[in-house]
Symmetry: C2
């Protein structure tokens, strides 16, 4: 069994991004990322800090915009409009989930699609669905694909079974892996909470990617010998032995599945670090598209 | 084995559409469909005539616009703009394929998404991908779903394997069948020309929909006893016994597969008639959305 070290792979990708950014800066171009946080949801605060920290480490121009919990839809739209128009900002991310008074899908639609580094604007969704290589693709699916590629795992022609059908992960990953061409061309199955005979389907998978958020859901008996397993799930489970009283758990019953898998990601340290690394990659790509300068 | 009679089912749907149209007309609203044909490609000429004939039969306002083979992109865009602005036209369809000087994807993007009864405008693609029930969905996938429903075949939870990954059929149908809720909630696999171990995957299918356009491709040994098989493929194969010298053939080796299937569509007379019936359904729905009048 090969443990796929997402942290190490993300580290290498970040280094490469840092080198690109340094080269772009020599030509007077600094990729800029704006992250907008509304309210004080503790995990969101942590995510936003992390994104800010890494973008600064890689030399990007990073703008963190923290808005009050009571921010209105109109106020947030005004912030988005300003960022859309700001030439120093090439990528915009509005941290999810926003407070309940915010209509998130309207905010996403208001983004300049060229700056939509989360890949959730309808025009980017449509591009991905239509197989257009200029789509900005959501970071987690992109990170899953990259993990497979960097681990030397062939995607083309293989049967990938994806658990979960969110746009943010499951469906986007399905469209990405079935896209024609290199690192695509997979046979893709999307399964979910309503799927019958799931074990039978999982046993035919060469690659399983689980993104349902149920701790320990995928069991060893559902995975065939030699499959590759990526675990996107992160649930908080109580753990009195930790300082915080909980720990992060993946969807995969790790020990059981690891005993059968050819390769597997841990949680934490698997897909997670890749998501932020791909956000940086998307921001640099968005900057290159907007400035017409590529390295 | 149950032969799914697409012609009869389409006939019933058309009758229902006709009743709706009659009722709308009593309230002064006539759903209007414009079909634009560029050039004289014989199958396209036949399709357009057919669409025109059926929309007239059902009482829709039908406008057939036939443009010269040498029509430029600019001229076609001007036609689309006029139709977008025309309040008598609720649905617009530009017959595919256009001549080579036309950039089809630009034409589709120029359509008013609310009038895009073919469901190929990026905003409709995105809506379908995001599971938005207000999406206008391409007619052939919609027809496949309807055939299953009308034949009393449960979709929810079942494993549907789709052969082919075009936006027009395969991918749209995948997104449609995996959508949350009634007549969705399937486990969906998309397979294609690059898929390995296809037979094994097909044998796990409860429902197979083939849309690859290779005559007789799907063999009996690839279908499990009791599966449901929809055949979207239409290829012309030479047949000296016919007047035209050819006949239409589906993707399915019919006799072999029919011997195992619980239910199966023939070619012709299966999915084909449903496509036009769903075009009429989409046009009426588009009219209802645009006028705010629904029956």
């Amino acid at each position: 069994m090969n443990l796929i070290d997402g942290k190490a792979i993300a580290g290498r990708i970040n280094e490469e991004t840092g080198r690109k950014v340094a080269l772009m800066k020599k030509h007077g171009i600094t990729p800029g990322l704006a992250v907008v946080l509304v309210g004080e949801d503790p995990p969101s605060v942590a995510y936003v800090r992390n994104k800010d920290r890494i973008s600064q480490q890689l030399g990007l121009y990073s703008r963190r915009i923290e808005l009050d919990q009571s921010t209105t839809q109109k106020e947030l739209l005004a912030v988005v409009d300003r960022l859309n128009a700001d030439p120093d900002v090439h990528g915009i991310l509005v941290q999810s989930p926003p407070p309940p008074q915010i209509d998130e899908s309207e905010i996403v639609k208001a983004l300049n699609p060229a700056k939509d580094v989360d890949g959730l604007h309808p025009l980017n969704v449509a591009k991905l669905a239509m197989g257009d290589p200029t789509a900005l693709v959501p970071c987690t699916p992109l990170g899953c694909q990259k993990l497979l590629v960097e681990s030397g795992i062939t995607i083309e022609g293989k049967h990938a079974v994806i658990l979960g059908r969110s746009m943010l992960v499951g469906k986007s990953l399905a469209l990405l892996l079935m896209r024609k061409g290199q690192h695509g061309d997979a046979t893709v199955t999307v399964a979910h909470s309503r799927s019958l005979n799931l074990t039978k389907i999982l046993l035919s998978a060469d690659i399983i990617i689980s993104a349902i958020g149920k701790a320990g859901y995928l069991r060893g008996e559902q995975v065939r010998e030699g499959a590759v397993v990526l675990d996107v799930g992160t649930s908080r489970v109580e753990d009195p032995s930790t300082r915080s009283g909980y720990r992060l758990a993946g969807d995969v019953a790790f020990d059981e599945v690891a005993a059968k898998a050819q390769a597997i990601t841990p949680v934490p340290g698997g897909v997670g670090p890749m998501t932020i690394a791909m956000l940086m990659v998307n921001t640099v790509a968005a900057c290159q598209n907007q400035t017409g300068f590529s390295v």
